[in-house]
Symmetry: C2
Subunit: 492 residues, 2 copies
């Protein structure tokens, strides 16, 4: 590698807005993925893996970030001068896949997918530019049953993630209701109205985080945030702002009650009646299936940020408190969301292909569950077999294999350090026990097993260092042939 | 989405060189990942997830593709004009992570990682620009034991993937031996020699695919391939070419025998003696641990393509035949590889941090195992509950839930089609059975379970369509309360 000595040393640095997850946190992510994939698969969904890169025109522009480069997407030109982009979600690639392989696929198509997605956001605390999603979608099913199933699936995943009743809620809304409200206050349902409508959606989407006062400004002229950045508003007048805010506050009770509250707000709007009808059909199925036990509510403040939703939208909210970057307790909020997107595949095919889906934000959700002690915290380190004599490595390997064959996670210490450093390593790894075979033990055909968890507890109680050493608590020595039994005993 | 009607319809197309995997093939990938992750975790490796994007200077340039844009990497400039790149493997990001977080990490660091990597290759049959890797690495361990462990781990993963003895082999070599040979034929160990050395490595790496004659040309002046593309050679003279080829053919026998064959080829080279010593230490450990039962060989033709290896290199070869793109039987070859890379973290830190690792190419390996009927083929579709009456969806959902609670994969048909289309759907999904509750069954409190697998077998034997219909074989009707029992019975 003499070539390298010419170059200056690069500075090892993670790009801004990206994160590394190591150990228990990564295990929590894997556990959440396994739980969700298990739910989806048991419901008949099949896995699909598509590539991270797609032609940009196939992904379309549905992110709300129109003030970011490439509208919030990481994009570049390929050799052949076509624009490629990193997927910003798993739904747009699904639409491309379905449109490209339409005829041979079973319809409805039920697929789940998991993988990283990228958003070219302005880096900031808690805002990540790459995160893992896990999605389930049903393509080719127009009815409310498919939407209701998505909501039930979302609840089932929350259950599978170990959450109890009352710790989460799936909020449901229908964008058609908002269309009716906007129609009532004169926002046109044409191309000119599209940008204004998107701004309204984005403003409502920030209700949870910013509160109604700030959202009122975003619905009106615009708003300057704490960092001084100005966001142009939707340009509604006072009456319009009031109508939209009143609508968003009309719900969040039980399913039927909220439907009754919403009905008069829709007036004679045809699209409003359609939206209410869809919500009613979904609510009926949820009630019949027993999901109206506090797990599902209709909440008109839920709109979801993505541009491609056409009707029902859903959001899974974690109601537990976690700590924010400043260490303050905050409601965690959205763990995922979804909705119906009947036009996304029509973009390619010209004929409507109804579809509905749900997506969990694995990285953020797993981090919250992990912080709450729900996932990955039980993870403990391996039993470490100390490597005290350089020429005995084969014996240490044999011991580790024996332990693993008994289902015990185990490794041989791999460095060339002395015993003290090896014990420190075992501590750092969270090892529950170490196996010690020095020359004395070896020549006598013995092994020593030291219980590090018990040892740590006891070291807190015993003050006298000498007493501690002589008593050697939490440590047993026995015949080499009893190694696995001794370790298993120590771990129980 | 009125905004969209203005734009022309995009053509749904997967970018060249990328692939979609759906259903059983994707399941095979997941199964292989779970098997490998299980092996690594049980050996004390902890999971690490890093982002797909890294600063390009942190990844370095170690791919052999120096005639491709950005030397084979997908790269672009970020907002702040820094070059970012999609990782080309999982090792370079590990080096960045270790260098960035050096002090608090346990040393040695044992981590495994899984995820997609990207190569900006010229698209071609069987050459993919995105594939999934799963890696295990030990950082901070200089000794042969860490290398030997990597080789044993690779064998353990092949075992966990369901391969039998003789179906795979782990080939081992040491780049220092080749350095000795190149020193002997006058290739300088300086910067000037680096490019020539890399060309030699790349030529040898193609032995399996192109054979010795083509490789001889790549070691000499150069070679024009079938497509007419010219590859510049390493510029060795006839004697040099002969020496290199003789070296690559000196092994592949049992560990000790190959070491004896190689010894005289090293002459008095110091680096050659060092390389042999390392191989001997690895071989001793493999023998002691019982891995020299045909699972491991020393093979000087193995060099691995990546530029960062500094000593021992490994390759896991699947010895079974699969079919190539033309449907011809071919030896599958490499399922993964690895080696020691003692200088990769030193790039950042200026002081050596020894490291060794192994990487499986999940996508390619899983596809081969799947084609061989080893992984994912047993996957069967869900039991499909037909949706024959639109107002009975809640009942169908309840049935599916019952089946799932008994551990049976089940779904309700989600479209609005008639019975014939629903049966066709069930066939296409590979459903083992369908549950039929029409109006007749419902009013009588009954359900019908139809065994599709048995039904298919029988329909091949019975010629008379009328006989078939009247007999209704492979179909049972019973009380609604016996649904789960009837389905379970059908599946056994």
């Amino acid at each position: 590698m003499s070539k390298k000595t010419k170059t200056l040393r690069p500075k090892a640095r993670r790009p801004k807005g990206f994160e590394d997850r190591f150990g228990a946190l990564a295990s929590a992510e894997n556990a959440l993925i396994a739980a969700a994939a298990g739910v989806y698969h048991s419901h008949g969904f099949d896995p699909l893996s598509t590539s991270a890169l797609e032609y940009a025109d196939c992904l379309g522009k549905f992110l709300p970030d129109d003030d970011r480069p490439n509208e919030g997407v990481f994009a570049f030109t390929d050799d052949d001068d076509q624009w490629m982009a990193l997927r910003y979600d798993l739904t747009a690639p699904l639409a491309r896949f379905v449109a490209e392989n339409f005829d041979p696929l079973p319809k409805p198509l039920r697929r789940f997918a998991v993988g990283p997605v990228w958003r070219n956001e302005k880096p900031g605390p808690g805002r990540f530019r790459e995160f893992i999603q896990i999605d389930a979608d049903t393509v080719g099913a127009p009815g409310a049953a498919a939407d209701a199933e998505m909501i039930m699936l979302a609840a089932d995943v929350m259950d599978a993630a170990g959450l109890a009743r009352g710790e989460y809620v799936i909020r449901i809304n229908n964008r058609k209701l908002l269309d009716a409200i906007l129609g009532g206050i004169g926002v046109p349902q044409t191309n000119e109205g599209a940008i204004q409508r998107m701004r309204v959606l984005r403003a409502i989407d920030k209700l949870d985080r910013l509160g109604p006062e700030a959202v009122a400004r975003l619905l009106g002229e615009g708003r300057k945030d704490d960092s001084g950045d100005y966001t142009k508003g939707a340009g509604l007048d006072a009456k319009g702002i009031e109508a939209v805010l009143a609508f968003t506050q009309a719900g969040a009770g039980d399913l039927n009650g909220t439907l009754r509250t919403l009905e008069p707000l829709m007036g004679r709007s045809e699209i409003g009646a359609q939206g209410l009808g869809e919500l009613r059909a979904i609510a009926d199925l949820l009630q019949a299936a027993g999901y109206e036990d506090g797990r599902t509510v209709i909440d008109p403040s839920i709109v979801r940020g993505l541009g491609y939703y056409t009707g029902p939208v859903f959001e899974a909210d974690l109601r537990l408190e976690t700590l924010n970057e400043k260490g303050e307790p905050v409601r965690f909020g959205s763990a995922g969301g979804g909705g119906r997107y009947d036009d996304l595949i029509a973009r390619f095919r010209g004929q409507p292909v109804p579809a509905t889906g749900f997506s969990f934000g694995v990285s953020r959700f797993a981090a919250a569950l992990h912080a709450l002690g729900r996932l990955g915290n039980a993870e403990r380190g391996p039993v470490v077999i100390l490597a005290l004599e350089g020429d005995q490595m084969a014996q240490y390997f044999a011991m580790a294999t024996e332990l693993r064959n008994a289902g015990i996670r185990a490794e041989v210490y791999m460095g060339g350090s002395g015993m003290k450093a090896q014990m420190k390593y075992a501590d750092k790894r969270g090892a529950p026990a170490v196996v010690i075979v020095g020359e004395d033990e070896r020549t006598q055909g013995q092994v020593t097993v030291k219980n590090l968890i018990l040892g740590q507890q006891m070291s807190g109680q015993i003050k006298d260092n000498k007493e501690w050493r002589e008593g050697r608590p939490a440590q047993v020595t026995g015949a080499r042939s009893t190694l696995t039994a001794m370790v298993a005993d120590t771990l129980n």
